[in-house]
């Protein structure tokens, strides 16, 4: 792996201070910071090539189109999709899931059901609830074990002949659990049920190969993998995308329009109505380049080490409850300091320059399951260091002494 210094030098924001302390950014599950090449890609695009895509004969339009479509190829390659037409640009995970709930949802009938899990982000719950109302379908919820692993037996037992989709997180944003998605897909496919994976928390942390997984849909956000906010991906198998009706109507997504009837464009454009987010897509391309400097073996080893050290620090502090202690997890540590409100602790950490997330993490059903109002969550990225954890240890001790 490159030296930590060299990695950190690529992230300008890491040299700033917060409350007169060096920034320690442990909120990577919410959004990662951006490396220089991503920031420069945006700047370059708006300085040099800004233009609408797919529409013009002029040089700028051609350049922008080539660059934009080039990112589609990069994404295809990054997740090993079999065809570029299976890669749909969206605003992010949330929009991808809403697109699916709307368009794939059109294929469902009253009395059908879909399965999610107890650990889902609201993005993988609410779009399905809207669909459930629209189509009178049922949403079934798979249980989890106390350590934050999916209850596979329960999940499988929920699958029946009316199940039209299983949509679960590849990795949990609260618990860090890496779900046994391959096994879920095998079980679902045995029953002819397609599977959608919410990859928001997986994409920067574990290798994703959609063909090896054989998932039917895979969704993620660029901003959680070093790319700008406002760009994300919906991967879908062509056989499903072909069957699904368009999501939004407008320019780009049509072949011919007349008042007698409109024919839709081919994939992937059928699902990309209107002027796309070209600049941020180019940023995503650069973020993929950034990530490809590393192997996932390196990334995962780093996260495991950070997680272990953070866990040890907290254990030494005493009086800590952990949420999510699955055997296979990414660099996410959710915990509560007993008798100290996460809001209080989070505020004090911020005063010491340390950014963590506190609250429900957009997973209220999961909080309810544990009977808590929220957790504190430290989540790590490639640029976090053991020294930062040493500072975290001191900060946690300080907080403990204040509240005792």
């Amino acid at each position: 792996m490159k030296s930590m210094e060299a990695i950190r030098a690529q992230f300008p924001i890491l040299s700033r201070t917060v409350n007169n302390k060096p920034l320690i950014y442990f909120d990577n599950a919410a959004s990662t910071q951006k490396p220089l090449l991503v920031i420069e890609a945006l700047d370059n695009y708006y300085r040099q090539s800004n233009s609408n895509v797919h529409r013009g004969v002029h040089t700028l339009a051609n350049e922008a189109t080539v660059a934009y479509e080039g990112v589609r190829d990069q994404v295809q390659n990054f997740i090993n999709a079999s065809s570029r037409s299976e890669i749909i640009f969206t605003r992010g995970t949330t929009e991808s899931l809403n697109l699916l709930a709307y368009s794939f949802g059109e294929l469902l009938n009253e009395g059908d059901n879909i399965i999610v899990s107890m650990m889902e982000h609201h993005s993988n719950i609410v779009p399905w609830q809207l669909l459930a109302k629209r189509k009178k379908i049922e949403i079934k919820v798979a249980d989890i074990h106390e350590n934050g692993e999916l209850n596979m037996e329960h999940l499988i037992s929920l699958m029946d002949e009316k199940t039209k989709l299983v949509s679960v997180a590849h990795v949990s944003n609260v618990l860090g659990t890496i779900n046994p998605v391959k096994e879920i897909i095998i079980e679902a496919h045995k029953r002819d049920i397609p599977v959608c994976l919410d990859g928001a928390q997986a994409i920067a942390h574990v290798p994703v190969d959609v063909q090896a997984l054989d998932c039917d849909f895979y969704v993620f956000s660029g901003h959680k993998m070093y790319a700008p906010m406002g760009i994300g991906i919906l991967y879908g198998k062509e056989k499903w995308l072909d069957k699904m009706p368009p999501y939004q109507g407008g320019g780009e997504m049509i072949k011919n329009v007349s008042f007698d009837g409109t024919t839709f464009n081919e994939l992937p454009y059928k699902f990309e109505a209107g002027t796309p987010n070209v600049g941020d897509a180019l940023g995503l391309g650069k973020a993929i380049e950034f990530m490809q400097q590393f192997s996932f073996t390196e990334i995962m080893a780093h996260e495991v080490a950070m997680t272990k050290k953070a866990t040890d620090i907290l254990k030494d502090t005493g009086d800590i409850t952990f949420y999510g202690t699955a055997e296979k997890k990414v660099g996410v540590v959710s915990f509560l300091m007993n008798n100290i409100h996460p809001y209080d602790a989070g505020t004090f950490l911020d005063k010491m320059g340390i950014a963590i997330r506190t609250g429900t993490h957009c997973a209220e059903p999961l909080m309810k399951h544990f009977g808590i109002m929220g957790t504190m969550r430290a989540s790590f990225s490639i640029y976090n260091t053991e020294e930062e954890l040493d500072a975290f240890a001191v900060a946690i001790q300080t907080i403990k002494s204040i509240f005792e």
Binding site: H341, Y343, G346, T347, K351, T358, T398, I402, F403
Partner: protein, 142 residues
């Protein structure tokens, strides 16, 4: 004492702290000094929504003056509630409605006013003003 006078007194109290840690310790102490809050008043209608911590504000009206009580499960939030209660309690509805709450700047709590701070300071102020408005309307209806 008028709202502004009480606010000035609080600001003076905070002025001696140079260190953020001391300042926050004082906020927490103020919270601990709040009179105990009736558990029965921890009902949903007294809960301020939109904060990460739970905070309850209840008000009563006697002899033309509004009195507040409150509680929170987070100590910083409870301390902030205590400051607001200390400053606003015992005032007439008009005094409460007319105050622009700029005293919060004086105490150095402005950072908590940002709507994104989800600690309920904004929510508490809004709720207190709503109480004042309701009491005023009630008085006028007499």
């Amino acid at each position: 004492m008028k709202i502004q006078e009480k606010a000035d007194a609080v600001a003076e109290e905070f002025a001696v702290f140079e260190d953020w840690l001391d300042k926050y310790n004082h906020i927490i102490e103020l919270g601990k000094d709040l009179p105990s809050y009736d558990e029965k008043l921890k009902a949903p209608q007294y809960l301020i929504s939109g904060c990460q911590s739970q905070v309850w504000i209840h008000a009563s009206f006697e002899n033309g003056l509004v009195n507040f009580e409150g509680d929170s499960d987070a100590l910083i939030t409870k301390g902030i509630a205590a400051i607001l209660i200390r400053v606003m309690s015992g005032s007439t509805p008009d005094e409460i409605l007319d105050n622009d709450m700029s005293f919060i700047d004086g105490i150095g709590l402005r950072e908590h006013l940002s709507p994104t701070r989800s600690n309920g300071l904004n929510g508490m102020i809004k709720q207190m003003k709503l109480y004042a408005m309701a009491f005023k309307a009630k008085e006028q209806a007499k």
